[in-house]
């Protein structure tokens, strides 16, 4: 007999808590009692975790979440990528979209063809002109990718922008339907066994809840792992320098674009995430370089609207994700920079990993070590991808951005950048989170061009290459224009939410 733990207590009340509950209830066929209880003084959930990446489709399929129902419930829009404005210089913009960039010629990646033409003196368009998804974003279009792999319409993928608060409710309903119990009240005290393992919690009502296994989903305050078990926090602010965020919901009359907009400002960046009928806006900034009033102004709220307050936000991770009989999922374990668009997926993937390494009564150190190894790898890849944006933004018009150029990047990112800068190659690492096309989109979008041509392109005739590049651009543009408008598509699918309905 290998007994699974006989009870699970999830501490928290946000997205991570209910995503964990829904996924665990499904995996345990509702045969292990799962209780969710709120931590006291929990920081509010980050609404911006509703900006996702295509891996969410796989998770939703596993959870049997049907797309129209989810989209209606969370007022979701489709997401084909992120438009990055003003990162290189004010006025400059590019789209980092999901999916292929151009097409390989024999074994040569498309961006190498582009670089070859550039080095031969031809003016080359932006990298996003060769991404069908990016072209669709520019044209305000959306359609589901084609299933036929010979079609150019099969070369991209998509994700969602969703209301994270509404998604939490959706997942909560899913979890409760599968028998998860929600205990009313809040955690007052955390109880330990003599050997240091967690035993249970007491609530403000005096009620005591005990369990064999605990999941800390209490957000950045990390009530169990950080506070009760004393696992320290390691900051990544060195590479991810924004330490404050201020956010606001703003009604929007115009149809939604199928992309988020991330705009650099002199002391950080701001995000606009389109839901149906409104935008979620946030300004991320370094408090040493910008004061709160100026940050609030950047939100662009209508005159007379109540001013939101800024809150501190430090990116980084707890030194361990799993200690004894407690694992931290979501911000209680690590806080990723929202530039990664991985906040929700990191929650899903952590729960999935926990399911694969599901704790038995005396959870072995080896299983825990393997969980740590895999989780650490994933978070570090995500950290690197976000760090890339700060390190390589071309603008040097403020102290904040000039400082960014001085800070050395993480070693793993440095290795990747060196390889790309020289010859446009990308390393093949284990456990990659982002595709090669993601790295290429952002690197070339930020105008980090490889210094020399791919040798396999040297025998190509520049004129033919330019023709090929032009043709590729036309193909993408035409295919994008053949798609319906994003707003019409939502309506036709019947997932749009009528205002006031």
């Amino acid at each position: 007999m290998v007994k699974p733990v006989d009870s699970i207590l999830i501490v928290g009340s946000g997205f991570a808590a209910w995503a964990s509950a829904a996924m665990l209830a499904r995996a345990t066929r509702a045969r292990i009692p799962i209780t969710v209880v709120a931590a006291a003084a929990e920081p509010p959930d980050d609404e911006l975790l509703g900006s996702s990446r295509p891996s969410i489709l796989r998770t939703h399929a596993e959870l049997r979440i049907d797309e129209p129902g989810f989209m209606r419930a969370t007022r979701a829009t489709f997401k084909l990528g992120t438009e990055l404005r003003d990162w290189n210089s004010p006025g400059h913009s590019f789209v980092h979209a999901f999916g292929d960039i151009g097409a390989r010629l024999d074994s040569v990646a498309f961006h190498q063809l582009l670089n070859r033409a550039r080095l031969a003196g031809s003016p080359v368009p932006g990298i996003d002109e060769f991404s069908l998804a990016a072209q669709a974003v520019r044209a305000g279009r959306f359609a589901h990718p084609a299933a036929d792999r010979r079609s150019v319409a099969s070369t991209y993928s998509y994700a969602y922008h969703f209301d994270a608060i509404a998604a939490t409710g959706y997942l909560r309903a899913l979890a409760e339907h599968q028998g998860v119990r929600h205990a009313t009240g809040q955690v007052r005290e955390v109880l330990h066994h003599e050997n240091g393992l967690l035993r249970g919690v007491t609530l403000d009502s005096g009620e005591e809840l005990n369990a064999q296994f605990f999941i800390d989903c209490s957000g950045a305050s990390s009530r169990l792992l950080g506070q009760a078990l004393g696992v320290p926090f390691d900051s990544w602010s060195h590479w991810l320098p924004c330490d404050r965020v201020v956010q606001l919901r703003v009604a929007r009359a115009a149809p939604a674009a199928a992309a988020s907009v991330a705009t650099a400002h002199p002391a950080g960046w701001r995000l606009s995430l389109p839901l149906q009928g409104e935008d979620l806006r946030a300004v991320f900034y370094a408090s040493a370089h910008l004061d709160e009033a100026a940050a609030v102004k950047l939100l662009g709220a209508a005159a007379g609207a109540a001013n939101p307050a800024a809150r501190p936000q430090v990116y980084g991770r707890r030194r361990r994700f799993w200690a004894g009989n407690c694992v931290a999922i979501g911000a209680a374990g690590a806080v990723p920079d929202p530039l990664s668009a991985m906040s929700a997926q990191l929650v899903y993937d952590s729960v999935q990993r926990l399911i694969e390494l599901f704790p038995h009564e005396e959870a072995g150190e080896r299983v825990i070590a393997e969980y740590e190894r895999r989780t650490t790898l994933q978070y570090e890849r995500v950290r690197d991808f976000a760090a890339l944006h700060y390190a390589l933004a071309g603008r040097g018009d403020s102290g904040f951005w000039r400082e960014r150029r001085q800070v050395p990047v993480p070693e793993s990112l440095d290795y990747r950048l060196q390889l790309f800068r020289k010859g446009g190659r990308l390393p093949a690492f284990d456990d990659e989170v982002y595709d090669e096309s993601d790295w290429v989109s952002v690197l070339l979008g930020l105008e980090v061009w490889p210094g020399k041509a791919e040798p396999l392109t040297l025998g190509m005739i520049p004129d033919q290459l330019v023709q090929r590049i032009d043709r590729m651009r036309q193909i993408m543009r035409q295919a994008a224009e053949a798609m319906p408008a994003h707003g019409d598509y939502l309506q036709k699918l019947g997932v749009d939410v009528k205002r006031g309905a």
Binding site: I355, E356, P359, H360, V367, L419, R425, A428, F429, L456
Partner: protein
């Protein structure tokens, strides 16, 4: 293989490719067994499968059978395919392990279609319908390497590769950086080049004899250092798998081709003499030997930099791991693929070279760990070799994987490199590393439900395997030599 691949991607005016071949360097393989990646290589070159098989007298391969490895009398197959179906979201082998710990003695083999087909000497290509159990496997080939080389030579020459027969008598280095500048042949001809690819085998004419790159010796983990090979007449049904039988001081391969069977004994010279090894091999043939036994010497390990200056070592010059899991051709293929991805210009950028060496190190180490597992995970102490490998210390990277599996049946997966979950599973279980525990979530299903579900899978596989034609029939129809 290298010349053919490069000629596929470069036009002659773009990059001129010359190949210097010396008849004095023989081809090692007598019968070559492969892993499924070879099919991707053939597809990239645009080779017609039936034509390739006909010309190299090839047969199909569904896996490798290991006989007498963990204990005398044991036999298991490492198949190219999956075991069973996930049970309520939990990996199948945990369900199997729970039943085993509850006293069920059903072999995991019965949940693998390629194993059941292999045991019945049946074969057909996998179905393209993902819902069919006949889609749950892949396949490779067993072919005559001495026929594959001329096949690739014809392909390469057609695409402009210039081949020169001759012996290299001297290598000239550039004074300023020690890069290779040119080769001088016995005929007096001097051949210059920008990039030199050393395919000279164990000898490492360029990488070692000239550049003194250095070699990392792995003999302490893989003590075999010799092989003796001999072909014999075929006997019995044509098997769609390779067999590796443990012997006193190593192991013996058996590779069935269309027209004969390749055999060899890989052994450690510390534990057996050449004469004894040859005698052992000849005693264990299916049919009459068709040639005199040939001896080979090798040192298992890896060149310290498979890419050094302007010389890339491909094949045995880059490293050698015994052919227990048919990885030689795979490692050649990987070296070529990564070379094309990181193809140099005249500046030979150190960051590209470092990335190439990092990836190839990983490829070699992951293959090495997998091979070491076969030796180390044994209960045999009946001969000095087996007692040594059983008790030796192993690489940390492998110890981590084994412990995690033994503790709870968790297979450590990776994206880069060969051998994934089903392969590790096959060898762990076949070598009697039986997990003490299983994924506890499998406890949530009643034992009876588990028994019913697994029995249904077994039946499905048994019945599906029985519908396949015999390997012999399929070969005769598909790719037998035209008379």
């Amino acid at each position: 293989m290298t010349a053919a691949s490069l000629s596929r991607f470069f036009r002659p005016e773009q990059c001129s490719i010359r190949l210097v071949e010396s008849a004095e360097i023989g081809i090692v393989g007598v019968g070559e067994a492969t892993v499924p990646h070879i099919r991707f290589f053939n597809q990239t070159l645009g080779l017609d499968e039936a034509d390739f098989m006909r010309k190299t007298h090839a047969t199909f391969k569904l896996g490798i059978e290991f006989v007498d490895w963990a204990r005398l009398g044991d036999a298991y197959i490492h198949p190219f395919g999956e075991y069973g179906r996930p049970l309520g979201g939990v990996r199948f082998h945990h369900g199997w392990n729970r039943l085993r710990l509850a006293g069920d003695d059903t072999q995991i083999d019965e949940y693998s279609l390629p194993i059941m087909a292999a045991r019945a000497a049946r074969f057909a290509p996998p179905s393209s319908d993902p819902a069919s159990v006949l889609s749950t496997f892949s396949y490779a080939f067993q072919f005559d390497a001495t026929l594959f080389a001329p096949y690739l030579r014809a392909y390469s020459e057609q695409r402009g590769v210039r081949r020169t027969e001759g012996r290299v008598v001297d290598v000239q280095l550039r004074g300023e950086d020690g890069f290779i500048e040119s080769l001088t042949l016995a005929s007096g001809e001097r051949i210059e080049g920008d990039l030199f690819i050393d395919c000279s085998g164990f000898f490492g004419l360029l990488t070692e004899k000239t550049l003194k790159t250095g070699y990392e010796d792995w003999t302490h983990w893989l003590p075999c250092d010799r092989a003796v090979a001999v072909p014999c007449e075929s006997f019995g049904p044509l098997l769609p798998y390779t067999r590796a039988t443990a012997r006193t001081a190593g192991w013996q391969w058996r590779i069935p081709l269309q027209h004969r069977t390749g055999n060899g004994y890989v052994y450690s010279s510390k534990f057996v003499s050449d004469d004894e090894a040859a005698a052992t091999l000849l005693r264990h043939l299916d049919g009459k030997a068709l040639a005199e036994p040939r001896f080979l010497k090798f040192v298992t390990g890896r060149r310290k930099k498979t890419w050094n200056r302007n010389c890339v070592a491909v094949g045995l010059s880059g490293g050698f791991v015994e052919p227990l899991e048919s990885t030689s051709i795979y490692l050649i293929q990987a070296a070529i693929t990564h070379l094309l991805e990181l193809f140099p210009d005249r500046s030979f950028d150190p960051v590209d070279v470092a990335e190439y060496n990092r990836i190839m190190d990983l490829e070699f180490e992951r293959v090495r760990d997998f091979i070491v597992l076969h030796y180390h995970a044994t209960e045999r102490d009946d001969t000095p070799l087996w007692d040594y490998v059983r008790t030796m210390s192993i690489p940390d990277s492998l110890a981590y994987k084994i412990e995690l599996f033994r503790e709870r049946g968790v297979v450590v997966n990776y994206q880069q490199g060969l051998f994934h979950e089903p392969s590790w599973l096959a060898v762990y279980l076949g070598q009697r590393i039986l997990p003490r525990r299983y994924d506890p979530l499998i406890e949530l299903a009643p034992l009876d439900e588990l028994r019913r579900e697994t029995a249904a899978t077994r039946n499905l596989i048994r019945q599906a395997a029985a519908t396949l034609p015999t390997h012999e029939e399929f070969i005769a129809r598909y790719c037998a030599p035209r008379s």
